[in-house]
Symmetry: C2
Subunit: 306 residues, 2 copies
C-alpha cells in the first residue's frame, strides 16, 4: 500500500484511535503516527504498548507537521481540542474527527478551524463496549461502514484521499450530509442505546425482583440490552446531548408506538399485536440478507431463553 499521509496525529488514545493506529500500520498508509491523550496515565500506557510511534506530552507537539489530524475524543470535547491545536496546524493539514454525531461537531469545531487547514468529518461505525488505550485492535473497521461527512465547500481531492484512507483501514465508505447522518444514527444507534440503558435501569430498580434473578435469567432477551448499555457513560452522555433534536424526535415516535402497543395489551387487541410483530420480521430478514448478521440461532451462541 502506498503512503497516503506522511504524518498522522491522533488526539485521544482510546478504542477508536488505538484501532486506527494498528489498522494504519497493517495497511502501511501512514509515514509516522504521533499521539496525545489528556491523562499521563493513558499516555504512559500507550508508550508501554507502543500504540503509536511517538506519544507527545502536548496536543500541540502531536499535531505539528501532521498532514492528517484525527480528533478521537468524546463528542463534547471536540471543540475545545480543535481550539487548542489550531495554532500548530501546518499549511494544508486535514483535520478529521471520528465522533458519533456530526451537526453539533461541525458547530463546535468549524469556528476554530484556521485558514490554512481543512476539516472533513468521518464516523467509523465500528465499536465495542470497551474503551481506553488497551482496547484497540487492527480489525475493528474491517467490512464496517465509515460515513464521510464533508462540510460545504470541502476539497474534493482531500475528501477522496480520506475515503481511500478509510478503505485502506478496512472500511466501506459512504458520503452523507451532517443532518441526515444524525437522523440515521438516532434511529439505528442512539435511541436503541437510550432504550437499552433505560430498561437496564428499571430492572436494577425493582425491589421485588432481585439483581441476582435479573442476572441469572438475563439470557431471556435482557442480555442484549445489557451489552448495549455497558458502553462508556461519557461517550454516550455526549452523544445524547449533542444529537438532541434527532434523538428527541425518534424518542417521540417510539413513545407513540409503544403507547399504541400498550393500549392493545390493555384492551386485549391481539390482532394489533400480531400484525405489528409480523411486520417487524421483514426487517430482520433484510439484515440477514444484507450480510449484516448471521441466521444461526442467537448469532451462533449456544442458546437463548424466553
Amino acid at each position: 500500500m502506498t503512503i497516503l499521509y506522511n504524518r498522522v496525529a491522533l488526539i485521544g488514545l482510546g478504542l477508536i484511535a488505538g484501532s486506527m493506529s494498528l489498522a494504519m500500520r497493517r495497511a502501511g498508509v501512514a509515514g509516522e503516527i504521533t499521539g496525545y491523550a489528556r491523562s499521563s496515565e493513558t499516555r504512559n500506557t500507550a508508550r508501554e504498548i507502543g500504540l503509536v510511534d511517538h506519544v507527545c506530552d502536548t496536543a500541540l507537539d502531536a499535531v505539528k507537521d501532521a498532514d492528517l489530524v484525527v480528533l478521537a475524543v468524546p463528542v463534547g470535547a471536540m471543540g475545545t481540542v480543535m481550539a487548542e491545536i489550531a495554532p500548530a496546524l501546518k499549511q494544508g493539514a486535514v483535520v478529521t474527527d471520528v465522533g458519533s454525531v456530526k451537526g453539533d461537531i461541525f458547530a463546535s469545531v468549524l469556528p476554530h478551524l484556521p485558514e490554512q487547514a481543512e476539516f472533513i468529518g468521518t464516523h467509523p461505525m465500528a465499536g465495542t463496549e470497551h474503551s481506553g488505550p488497551n482496547s484497540g485492535f487492527a480489525e475493528l473497521f474491517d467490512k464496517r461502514w465509515c460515513l464521510i461527512v464533508p462540510p460545504e465547500g470541502a476539497s474534493e481531492t482531500e475528501i477522496q484521499r480520506l475515503e481511500k484512507f478509510w478503505r485502506a483501514l478496512g472500511s466501506d465508505t459512504k458520503r452523507m450530509e451532517a443532518e441526515h447522518h444524525d437522523l440515521v444514527c438516532a434511529v439505528v444507534s442512539h435511541t436503541p442505546h437510550l432504550i437499552a440503558y433505560t430498561m437496564v435501569g428499571v430492572a436494577d430498580d425493582l425491589s421485588r425482583v432481585t439483581d441476582q434473578e435479573v442476572i441469572e435469567f438475563s439470557a431471556a432477551g435482557f442480555r442484549d440490552f445489557t451489552r448495549i448499555a455497558a458502553s462508556d457513560p461519557t461517550m454516550w452522555r455526549d452523544v445524547f446531548l449533542s444529537n438532541k433534536d434527532a434523538t428527541l424526535e425518534i424518542l417521540g415516535r417510539f413513545t407513540e408506538e409503544l403507547f399504541a402497543l400498550q393500549r392493545a395489551i390493555r384492551i386485549g387487541d391481539g390482532d394489533h399485536l400480531h400484525d405489528y410483530f409480523t411486520r417487524t420480521r421483514a426487517i430482520r430478514r433484510g439484515i440477514i440478507e444484507a450480510g449484516q448478521d448471521t441466521d444461526a440461532p442467537n448469532f451462533g451462541r449456544h442458546s437463548d431463553a424466553t
Copy 2:
C-alpha cells in the same frame, strides 16, 4: 440414564417440543415418545424427520397411556388443548406445559384437569427466534434454566421427578411461584421484547430514513433489537395478552424512567445521564461474572458499530 417416564406425549411439535424429543433421546429418560400437532403439514414433517417415535393424528391418541404429557403450544391455546385431552388421560398422568407465562395458564388449564391427573408448570428459559418442527436441537436446554412452577398442593414426588427430567435434558432447575415467575419474566424477557418490537417498527415507519439505510447500518446497536423482534408473532401476542398485568406494570416503570432521561436530554442535564449510564454498567459486569455471557467484544462477533 434411567427411564423417568415410560411414555411421554408432546402436544405441539415446534421448537420446544422438538428439542425436548431430541434431548430426551440423548438422555434416554423416556421409554417412548408420541407427538401431535394441529396441522397435517407439521405432523408430516415430524414423521419424515422422525422427530418422535409416533406421530398421532389426534391429541387423544397421543396422550392415551402417557405418563407425562407436555403442552407445547402457544400460551393462548393451552386451556383448549387441556380440555380436549382431559378425557383420555390415564390414572396418575402428569401434565406439564412449557409456556412463557404461568398465572394465566394455571387459570385456563387447571379447571379442565381431571381428578386422576396432576398438573405442574415448567418454563424452559431457552429458545431461539426460529420455530416449527425443523427448528429443534438436542442441546437447546443445556445449562439453561428451567423454572418449575407447581400449583398449590402438587405432589412433591412428582415435582421432584419432573425436576430430575429437566436436569436430564440439560437444564438447571429452580422452583418459583406463578406470580413471581410472571413478574421476573416481564422484566428479563417480555418487556424487552415489546420494546425491541416497538423500536424496529419505528425504524421501519420513518420515511426520511430508508429501510436500506436501517439495514446497512444496523450493526450500530439496532441489530440486537431486530434479533429479539424476529421471534414468532403468535407466541408473543399470546405472551403479552396473558402476562398483561406484570408487563403493563414494568412498561409503566420503563416509561417513567425514559421520560426522566428524555427530560435530561432536553434540558442538557449531563450529570443525570452520566450517573444513570454508570449505574447500569454494574449489572452487565454481574452477568459476565455469572457466566451468562462472554466478555469478548460483541459476544466475540467481529465488530459492532456506533
